[in-house]
């Protein structure tokens, strides 16, 4: 079995109003050095197979078809074998 971790990031060109709003909070707290806050998604799940290449294929397709929107987001993932 593998544990998959997927990180989804909005492309740098795409406006991120959520990140902008959170950064306003940072300024209110006095973190004046904080810049370019961007909010993404962290998703984890298990893939129940012994075949690593099959696990990779499924995670990639799951990320492309559902977890991310390819028009505005990029994703990266890692797999860790668990016993």
């Amino acid at each position: 079995m593998f544990k998959a971790t997927v990180i989804i990031k909005r492309r740098p060109k795409i406006l991120d109003p959520e990140g902008k709003a959170v950064e306003q909070g940072a300024k209110l707290l006095g973190f004046n050095n904080v810049k370019q806050t961007r909010i993404g998604k962290y998703i984890e799940f298990f893939v129940d197979t012994k075949d690593k290449s099959l696990a990779e294929k499924e995670v990639k397709e799951y990320s492309e078809k559902l977890l991310s929107n390819p028009i505005i987001e990029d994703f990266e993932f890692s797999l860790e074998e668990v016993k």
């Binding site: 406006l15 109003p17 028009i71």
Partner: protein, 231 residues
């Protein structure tokens, strides 16, 4: 001949009854609810994907609803030229399934906007607008993620093919950015596919149909479809 409207119900839809009420009880057309787990469109002539928060808006708006069993049938119906309307969350679902181009982002202000807006009709030669004499309509908007985004190439192709149907405007038709409630690119409020049989819009025509609510601009859209559907 009376058209039949099929109103799809997803878990989390909340404008399904408004849409059904508008087309059936106010305007007198046939209508039937279509549960998202079914595949049968029950001989509907027009499909409405209503507003709401399908699947709680989890992941992205419309991202999960687009995989509901009924959406395969809706997709095939649209590909064959069937009339499909996506209102608000329905528009978001049409973007996710790829029947319309682009994507919806959070409102630029980060606020949920709920108010009446003026819309300028940008294309009056479509089944959705052909019978409308007015140049401007007033509809309510109610959304947190209605900030339409498309890249430059997509935007250019939307313009070239006259796929932009409505733009946010002043009551006189000025489309300055101050009349844009959510930051949508080019003040876009509603678009169509290339074949012009699929429409997505953020404002709610179904909420402006019953005369008791003082504005009936929304009825003009449903009547335009009904008048031109069988011609």
């Amino acid at each position: 001949m009376k058209p039949k409207f099929g109103v799809v119900v997803f878990p989390g839809s909340n404008c399904d009854h408004d849409a059904y009420y508008a087309v059936k009880k106010v305007l007198g057309y046939d209508a039937e609810f279509l549960w998202h787990k079914e595949k049968d469109l029950k001989q509907s002539n027009v499909i409405i994907l209503p507003g709401g928060f399908s699947y709680g808006d989890y992941l992205r708006t419309g991202a999960i609803a687009r995989f509901s069993p009924i959406m395969d049938s809706v997709y095939n119906f649209a590909e064959k030229g069937g009339i499909v309307i996506g209102i608000c969350n329905g528009f978001q679902i049409l973007l996710e399934i790829g029947l319309l181009p682009g994507v919806m982002l959070k409102n630029e202000s980060l606020k949920f906007v709920c108010k009446d807006v003026h819309l300028r009709i940008e294309n009056n030669k479509t089944i959705f607008t052909k019978s409308i004499k007015k140049k401007l309509l007033t509809f309510p908007v109610a959304h947190g993620e209605g900030n339409y985004y498309a890249d430059d190439a997509t935007l250019k192709s939307l313009e070239e093919n006259n796929q932009i149907l409505f733009r946010y405007a002043s009551k006189d038709g000025d489309t300055a950015s101050k009349y844009n409630p959510n930051g949508s690119v080019s003040n876009i409020a509603g678009i169509m596919n290339k074949k012009k049989n699929v429409m997505g819009l953020m404002p709610h025509p179904e909420r402006h149909c019953d005369p008791v609510l003082s504005n009936t601009d929304g009825a003009l859209i449903f009547n335009s479809i009904a008048n031109n559907l069988f011609n």
